[in-house]
Structures are given as C-alpha cells and as structure tokens.
C-alpha cells in the first residue's frame, strides 16, 4: 500500500474514532476561554431575585426572628444553613444551593440560586483531567492522534490546492496568526 493510502487511512480512521473527544475538548475549550476572560462560569447557572425588607435594619437589630422573617419572605426556610456579617452594612444568609445578600441600610435583598450546568460540568470534568489515571493516558493518546490527523490532513490533497499550492499559504497564515499574538502580547 502506498504512503498516500496509509495517509488517507490514518486521517479517516482516527478522525472517526476521536470525533467525540474533539467535540468534548472544543466545546469545553470555548467555555474555558470565556471563563478565563471572566465572561461567565460555564459550570454554574446562577439565578437572582430581588426582595425588600419592610424597613432598613442595623447589624445589632438582626436576630433569629429577623432571619426567619427573611427566610419566610423569600420562601427559603427549609434551605437555611447559617448567616454572618461580611461588614457592618451587609448580612449574608447561606442556603443550600445559594444565598441571600442583604443590604441592611436600604433593606434590599438579593436571593441567588446556584446550580451546576449540565453537560458543561461533565465535559469540563474531562477536559481538566479530573479523572486522572487512565484518562490521562487516553487523552494523551487523543492528543497524539490529533497531531497525526493534522499532519495527514495537510498531505491529503495534491496539486494547486494542496500543501505546495493554496493549502501551503493557508498553512503559513495559520501559523503566523498565533505568532503575531505572541509577538504583540508576550515577547514585546
């Protein structure tokens, strides 16, 4: 079998085999990008609702009755955990799955409910190598296979659209762009 047939075989077979892994890593990679850029946390869904106390309070006026009143108002009695004062003007009431943040001087309250985002929690778990052990080896195998898929891909097409023609130009551009970012943001 000629090397081109082997090349096509590698590209095709590994491409099919690791399609799922590519989706996992790419989607979680996009999520991580925006997570790092502080746009959002992909693993968490956060919902907030606003409430108001009947009247403003001071820290010294907060007691068990006040806490129970807040929990009744927000419907969170059965989720109560503990409370504390981050500072003189705020009260933090912790709940199972969230918290209530109270500004004492204005009586404004914000109820935050937090839960994990399905699908993203799972793919991030894999991308961040949380399972470790055998998963580390399997994901190394995937990474190595991606290199083979990439190399076999650039050698797939012959002629003016291949690496000696337009393909080569696109290859050069694809390498130049990250180098330019490095030059701009890291090296200079």
């Amino acid at each position: 079998m000629s090397w081109r047939k082997w090349n096509r075989w590698i590209h095709r077979e590994l491409g099919y085999l690791f399609f799922g892994m590519t989706i996992v890593y790419c989607v979680s990679g996009i999520a991580l990008n925006h997570f790092v850029a502080r746009h959002w946390d992909p693993g968490i869904i956060s919902r907030s609702a606003s409430y108001s106390l009947p009247a403003p309070l001071t820290k010294s006026e907060v007691n068990r009755e006040v806490i129970e009143g807040i929990l009744s108002l927000t419907g969170e009695k059965r989720n109560y955990k503990q409370y504390y004062f981050p500072n003189e003007d705020h009260l933090m009431i912790y709940l199972k799955g969230g918290h209530i943040y109270v500004t004492l001087s204005t009586g404004e309250m914000e109820l935050i409910r937090i839960r994990t985002r399905p699908f993203f929690k799972e793919i991030n778990y894999l991308h961040y190598n949380k399972p470790k052990k055998l998963w580390t080896w399997f994901s190394d195998l995937y990474a190595f296979s991606l290199i083979l898929i990439a190399i076999s891909g650039i050698l797939l097409i012959r002629g003016r659209k291949g690496i000696s023609g337009r393909g080569g130009i696109l290859l050069g551009i694809g390498i130049l762009i990250p180098l330019l970012f490095l030059l701009t943001y890291l090296w200079l």
């Binding site: 502080r38 955990k81 981050p86 918290h99 937090i114 949380k130």
Partner: protein
C-alpha cells in the same frame, strides 16, 4: 464547644489519613506527624509558631472561589477574621455548596516568602472579579494560608 468540635474533627481526619498511610507504607505506627488544633485567631496571632505544622481547624466557609474552587475562606470565632484554605493532597477543588457550612480542615499552615507574596498580589489585582473589596479580600491577599489535605463537613 468550638474547641471540642475542632479536636473531634481533627482526630477523625487524622485517623483517616493515618489509615491511608498505613496501607501505602506497610503500617509503621509512630510516623504520624503531630496535629495542632487551633482557631483562626490563634494562628493569625502567632503565625510563626504554626508555620509548617499540621493544623486542624474548623469554621464556617464564607466563600469558595468561583474559578475552579482553588481556594476557600474560613471564618474565625470572632465573626470577622478569615483565613485562606487551598486544596492539597488528593483534593482537586472545593465545591461551591460548601459555602455556609461548618467544615473541619486538616492541612499545613504555610507562609509565603516575599517573592511569592508579591506574585500573589499581582495575580489578585490582575483579575477583573477582584475589583470590589470583599470580606475575604484581606485573607485572599495575605501571605499565610493552609494547604488542606483533608476536610469534612461538620454541619451542612
């Protein structure tokens, strides 16, 4: 009551760690490092006394870092002082639902050197979500912390 809680939690955690050690090393009693039970205030009053020691500490978790759960903050008995806890050993991350729970931690108290401390503050200031001063900000920028190797929720 708080001290009793800390001692009990510390002994539970230490016995769990010691059993693991015995399985891996063939069981040599007496290799156990002494665990010091302390409150947040005691540690921060004399940090040099506790540096490098295994500490058992317990308190309410006020905040878990949203970026990967790589740190959390425990409130002292005075309701104001907080200390930073980072995951070590086999702990990958702290879960957000630990917030508001009383948790017992077992770990090593560490103090950063000047270089590490400077790097920590630079990293802290470069992150957009730290623009607002929070109750745990002082602990987050402090050069002292506990690297936890085990923890247990005492009250959910």
């Amino acid at each position: 009551m708080q001290r009793l809680l800390i001692w009990v939690a510390g002994m539970v955690l230490l016995s769990a760690c010691n059993q693991t050690g015995q399985k891996e090393e063939g069981g040599t009693p007496g290799n156990m490092e002494e665990v010091v039970s302390a409150t947040v205030e005691e540690i921060l009053a004399q940090p040099a006394e506790y540096e490098g020691k295994q500490i058992a500490i317990s308190g309410m978790v006020t905040h878990v870092c949203r970026h990967g759960g790589q740190k959390c903050f425990v409130l002292g008995e005075d309701g104001e002082t907080q200390i930073r806890i980072v995951p070590g050993g086999d702990i990958d991350e702290f879960k957000i639902d630990m917030e508001g729970s009383t948790v017992a931690f077992l770990g090593t108290f560490k103090i950063l050197n000047v270089q590490q401390s400077t790097a920590l503050i630079e990293d802290h200031e470069s992150q957009a979500h730290h623009d607002q001063e929070m109750a745990h900000s002082e602990a987050e920028k402090a050069d002292y912390f506990i690297e936890a190797i085990d923890f247990k929720e005492v009250t959910p």
